[in-house]
């Protein structure tokens, strides 16, 4: 039996995993990252458009601060987020971006003087102030009141990931590449590490750790068309689910991005619209102002994706061999701007579509993009159900996104959660001793080994590629942008029978070492379990909130559904997840439930909402001299690791 001992084990080498590893290492802990691929190839690199942080240096960001970022994030989430976590996030985001600035990210900067931008299809002159010259600038993104999305051209994720990985290399953090965690080791109360399969040799190793962090990204590849990298299959979340103890949160909350290219589903950044790009229909008509007069193309992603789908359903889509699509028009931004700030988009258009976006429209369609759901954690990033198990980034339901994430808040979450959760992981490692029976390690090691033996020896004949593709089609057809009872029931029953079939996979290639078919055979049953948590969660949630949109229940129902879905998979042989619900406490919300100001949904009120609005008024009135920090402390007190406390400075404003 191969065993490796460490203090802090991190599964996943993207931005969140790297940042947590850095925090562990900086605290003097032995730290190992296990990753499917070299860290710099992680899906974090795909974040093109930027990272939200309320620095307020650019003239269109003036007046921005944590409070405005907080309100945008809560509205974006359709009040489905944990407001404590959203607060921790917005207050720390400026620190995260400034840390990355010292670690080498070449953030695009404010240039003093006049510049011309496109706003609402018109050329507008902006004059940047002298005193902001050289500070980190920001662009516009959907669902935000201010221009808050900091960027490096449209390679933001790339530069962040490179700076972060370089820092990890400087600290000597080992990344064990081409390895896959296939099971967590636990005793029902404590997580002790993971069983890891080497994707080259096929050998299993037990990694034993005080703290285990899952930072494996989202589960976009449950869908047949996704912007996600092909490795985003949710296996990290799945091994947490398979403990039978840890819960996954809000798995039905799945975001569709408005502008992925047709047919391959590669993303073109929201920065296209943030910088002034427009959506057009088959007649070349700009339709979004008709649906969303205020935010137009820059409403939140869930809203824009639904409006586009509505418009296509009205017959206004552009027919193609791959189904109807719409046009993204960035021609009005001009060659110079596209060459400099949207060059990845330009490359994608050239290579995959053979078009020049300076002159031609881009064929786009809403496409699966982001997983709001994931391993349910408390605000410290730890599973409330399994001690020593942490999660951060897209794989987690830390829950700052609720039912819809804002553009620019995902890479921001990875590094902010990485900083915050990283400190709590290190605390946990310092405060806890490693106590584990070797018989427990052996039990999990042997179990996983036997499963692989069975797969290789099996004489069954179900084809794993076929099963996977059927699952992806079921999710695409029935658990998409618009959902209803009939489709969701069909999805659940189809997935159930698929799960049974997945227990009878037969391999053509019986090699135990590197074997792509075996990799699929290990993953696909896990993926179907996740798909069931998504489909079943969506079926049970009889309301529409954020990205979860039920045609048969179009209202946001705060009365009955202001709650988080928790999914458990109690026994390996079960065919369905067990769902539980956790109330969101309105009476401790900093921002009482209200309309988002876009999306035009009706709301069924909760009786506590009125009560909370009154409370907030009274607290504010009773403290007339309190500044915004004191008011926040009264309405929504949060805890942060000591080194991340402290107010954030802004140009022209100081620490106010």
């Amino acid at each position: 039996m191969n065993v490796i001992y460490t203090d802090s084990l991190i599964i996943g080498g993207g931005l969140a995993g790297l940042r947590i590893a850095i925090a562990s290492k900086q605290r003097g802990l032995d730290t190992i990252i296990v990753s499917l691929i070299p860290a710099k190839r992680s899906h974090s690199a795909a974040a093109q458009g930027g990272m939200q942080a309320s620095l307020g240096a650019s003239v269109k960001g003036e007046g921005d601060d944590e409070d405005v970022h907080f309100a945008d994030t809560v509205k974006g989430s359709d009040w489905g987020c944990d407001q404590k976590v959203a607060r921790m996030f917005v207050n720390t985001a400026p620190k995260a971006i400034r840390e990355l600035s010292t670690w080498g990210v070449p953030w695009s900067r404010v240039k003093k003087g006049d510049r011309y931008v496109v706003v609402n299809a018109k050329r507008v002159k902006l004059t940047e102030k002298d005193e902001a010259h050289g500070l980190i600038t920001a662009r516009d993104f959907g669902g935000t009141k201010k221009w808050r999305t900091c960027f490096t051209a449209d390679g933001t994720g790339h530069t962040m990931l490179y700076a972060m990985d370089n820092k990890a290399i400087e600290l000597g953090i080992p990344v064990h590449e081409r390895k896959e965690a296939i099971a967590l080791i636990h005793n029902g109360e404590n997580c002790h590490g993971a069983i890891v399969r080497d994707l080259i040799t096929g050998d299993l190793t037990a990694y034993i750790a005080k703290a285990t962090t899952i930072a494996t990204g989202g589960y976009g590849r449950l869908y047949s068309v996704s912007t996600n990298a092909v490795i985003c299959e949710g296996i990290g979340a799945a091994i947490a689910l398979e403990t039978g103890v840890a819960a996954l949160g809000n798995m039905e909350a799945v975001q569709f991005h408005p502008t992925a290219i047709v047919p391959v589903g590669i993303l073109t950044t929201e920065g296209c619209r943030g910088d002034g790009g427009l959506l057009r229909d088959v007649d070349g008509y700009r339709f979004m102002p008709d649906y969303e007069p205020e935010k137009k193309e820059l409403a939140s992603r869930d809203v824009v994706s639904r409006r586009m789908t509505e418009h296509i359903r009205k017959g206004k889509g552009v027919p193609s061999p791959y189904g109807d699509h719409l046009w993204l028009d960035i021609t009005l931004l001009g060659k110079e701007h596209i060459d400099k700030n949207l060059r990845e988009v330009k490359e994608i258009c050239e290579y995959f579509l053979g078009i020049d976006p300076v002159k031609q429209y881009i064929p786009v369609r809403p496409t699966q993009h982001y997983s709001m759901g994931g391993v349910k954690t408390n605000p410290t990033g730890q599973s409330p159900y399994l001690k020593g198990l942490f999660s951060a980034g897209e794989s987690a339901c830390w829950d700052m996104h609720g039912f819809n994430r804002l553009g620019g808040n995902s890479v921001a979450e990875t590094v902010v959660a990485g900083m915050i959760v990283g400190e709590y992981v290190a605390d946990y490692c310092e405060q806890n001793q490693l106590e584990i029976k070797t018989s427990l390690i052996e039990q999990f090691y042997n179990r996983e080994n036997q499963k692989i033996d069975q797969l290789i020896e099996s004489s069954s004949n179900e084809n794993v590629f076929q099963i996977k593709s059927e699952m992806q089609e079921i999710m695409m057809q029935n658990v998409g942008i618009f959902r209803n009872q009939k489709d969701l029931e069909l999805a659940v029953s189809s997935l159930k029978s698929l799960l049974k079939r997945s227990r009878k996979i037969g391999l053509k290639n019986k090699t135990r070492s590197s074997n792509p078919e075996l990799v699929e055979a290990i993953r696909v049953p896990k993926m179907i379990k996740l798909a069931l948590t998504v489909a079943y969660g969506a079926l049970q949630r009889t309301e529409s909130r954020g990205a979860h949109s039920r045609e048969d229940f179009p209202e946001r129902n705060d009365r009955d559904w202001l709650k988080r879905t928790l999914a458990f998979w109690r026994n390996e042989e079960d065919e369905m997840p067990e769902l539980q619900y956790e109330d969101l406490d309105i009476l401790s919300m900093e921002l009482a439930p209200a309309s988002r100001g876009y999306g035009n949904a009706t709301i069924i009120d909760n009786q506590d909402t009125e009560k909370r609005i009154k409370q907030i008024e009274e607290i504010t009135k009773a403290n007339p001299n309190a500044d915004r920090f004191e008011i926040q402390e009264l309405l929504n007190p949060i805890e942060l690791p000591k080194k991340l406390q402290g107010k954030n400075e802004r140009v022209g404003r100081g620490f106010k």
Partner: protein, 247 residues
């Protein structure tokens, strides 16, 4: 608007097959046939071959959008990113795929670029060197940077570590210790960055020898085959000039 293609054309893929994990396995070329579809890339084709013809076929894709650098291979004699190579590019419909040379072979078309790239970063110490960094107060405003300088650094940081430059490098193929264009580009990037306090003398210690900048034979395969069109020729010339004046 989409480019015209011969839908339904028969494609022939000639692929190097070899699995060093299996004792006694010998390298061989195997041909697979499949039907071209509209917009087909080598990524789509290889997955079809794996799913329909041979599930043991090894290759590496992650982003499949030309940004992660995982999938470089030799396509009809030239190193390139497989994910964004359209099959329609090849009028004869014959496509030969070989693994990238200059890297350890994992199996078939999969090579270990990660190990090499980490070693490159360690060798040139590819991170910001600043003795005062530990004392930076994150509540304060960031240090300003010239906007053009920030843009220029990004131009050099667009490298995705795909390995095409090393595979196409004459010196690298003869001398394994040669740093190669990927390393030079990183050195140029950190030398340009005012946040990195290292001097040209410091960089000389890293690249001022025949395994470094003076080993380059100026064949410029790196410039010719960089999928990100990075200015290798310019930066290598610049570094060589700088390094000659040190000492």
């Amino acid at each position: 608007m989409r480019q015209e293609q011969q839908n339904g054309r028969k494609l022939k893929f000639h692929i190097l097959r070899f699995n060093p994990q299996i004792e006694g396995d010998k390298p061989k070329m195997v041909t697979y046939e499949l039907t071209e579809a509209l917009g087909m890339t080598v990524f789509i084709a290889l997955n079809q071959i794996r799913e329909q013809h041979d599930p043991s076929l090894q290759f590496d894709f992650v982003c499949r959008a030309g940004i992660c650098g995982s999938c470089a291979m030799v396509i009809n004699g030239k190193p390139d990113l497989a994910c964004r190579t359209l099959t329609s590019k090849f009028p004869k419909g014959e496509i030969t795929l070989l693994p990238l040379p200059a890297f350890e072979l994992i199996g078939d078309l999969s090579v270990n670029t990660g190990k090499v790239m980490r070693a490159v970063s360690e060798r040139i110490e590819g991170w910001i060197h600043d003795k005062n960094m530990g004392e930076i107060d994150l509540t304060k405003m960031e240090v300003t940077m010239d906007p053009d300088l920030a843009d220029n650094i990004y131009e050099l940081e667009r490298c995705v570590e795909c390995g095409c430059c090393l595979a196409a490098c004459g010196t690298k193929r003869m001398r394994d210790d040669f740093l190669g264009a990927v390393g030079f580009m990183k050195v140029a990037r950190f030398l340009m960055d005012t946040r990195d306090k290292r001097t040209e003398e410091d960089m000389y210690e890293i690249i001022g020898d025949d395994d470094g900048i003076f080993g380059c034979m100026s064949l410029m395969g790196c410039e010719d085959f960089c999928p990100k069109d990075l200015p290798h020729q310019h930066q290598i010339a610049y570094l060589r000039r700088k390094m000659v004046t040190v000492k």
